[in-house]
């Protein structure tokens, strides 16, 4: 089984092209679990509901997990809107960059 950190490392290869940071740094990944059947579930959100890359980002996350963690058999992404994302969830580096 992979740990949450392993999964987050895999997901961190996916970037938000608008801000240039990966989804983990942005604080968009709420949870990541791998069960004994090597099925991974990623719970995540987006910085806005109207994100035009909505479906693409979900697909990228699924692909990233499968690509980076070879033993994973299946990836499922739960896209949630609660709690609503806010900047406090991002890393200090992201906050500093966005602050100009």
């Amino acid at each position: 089984m992979y740990s949450k950190d392993d999964i987050l490392k895999a997901v961190s290869t996916v970037i938000d092209p608008e801000v240039g940071f990966n989804l983990v740094e942005m604080g968009l990944i709420y949870d990541a679990i791998c069960n004994e059947n090597m099925e991974v579930t990623v719970t995540m959100t987006l910085s806005t509901k109207a994100c035009p890359l909505h479906q693409m980002i979900v697909q990228w996350v699924e692909e990233a997990v499968l690509r980076e963690l070879p033993k994973v058999r299946l990836t499922k992404v739960d896209l949630v809107w609660e709690p609503v994302w806010n900047i406090s969830m991002a890393t200090e580096e992201v906050k500093a960059r966005l602050a100009g």
């Binding site: 801000v19 692909e63 900047i87 100009g100």
Partner: protein, 354 residues
Amino acid sequence: MIIIFGAMAQLVPVVLEVGHFAVDLYYTIYPLLFIGAILMAMGFVYYPSLLPFGGTIAFVSFSIFLFETFLTILKVKKINFVIVSVLLANIFLFFGLIIGIILALGYSGTIDINIYQFLKAHIYLVLVGYVGITIMGMSLILLPMFWLSHGFSWKYIKSSLSILSVGILFVVLSSFSNITFFEYLGYFFTLIALFLYFYQVFIIYKTRVRLENDIYFKSIMFSFLSLLLSLILGIIYIFYPIENIFLTLSWILLGGFITFIITGHLYKIIPFLVWYERFSPYVGKKKIPMLVDIVPKKSANMQFVFSSIGVIFVSLGILNINETIYKSGLSFLSIGAIFLLKDILYMIRFKEDV
């Protein structure tokens, strides 16, 4: 209008969260609108008999756009405030078009109508009803998205949209009833609505977490300052109805507000489309450029500086009836337009080995 339609082709699915009913219809909308606009321009300048033909072709183009949009809206399962704004804008466009075709027939002498009255209703329905509400609705999606604003109330924009709709109805009603009171009531409601919209934008600005002063931010700020200035001039015009003031506020609204809100978004939307098409397949697999890398920053800033100075000078030229200032403003605008064209070509052609 073509650029607005192009933007809507991209934004409608984002806003409505459903795919287009038939996006390929846009391939017929653009050429028809282009031909219609050319014929109408020739009709206004040289041959009035061309107006009904140009008007009919433009009408068909707009109708296809409306048909596609309404059918796309029908796919929506859950109606929200932004969807209501899209629906309202398109209803106003529909009636604006009907009046537009009547106007074209009137101009060409086919039917006998009071052109001024119909023109007022037509302009108000299309420019305020469609373009205005579309900009309002879309900006509520785009501003929080690009500024990363969260946790703000929408109550001001909701009130603004309701009041604006009533204002538009009053102005249209005054066109057909000859009751001047309705017209002024309509303008009054419009002003109130715009101030509420402006306040809503200010709230979004205050709650933003993205503080970079990039070309998008500068353009949007200039755009909203222009809107505020034209509103103030509008109030002055109510008390001092001098033609120069009206022309100046109209110019600032068009050249400052609408133009800058469009150009600002071009610097966001074009890089996104290019990135999506050329680089998104390599996400996670290779190092790829970000959206910000696709924007030519220095040139974009030059475009902003020349265009904004141009808008200011042209405004002063119109207000003071000074041809020299007016023409110098046009020169600045022309250089700004060259930079804009150069930037658009740069972004469209952006390639980087990945």
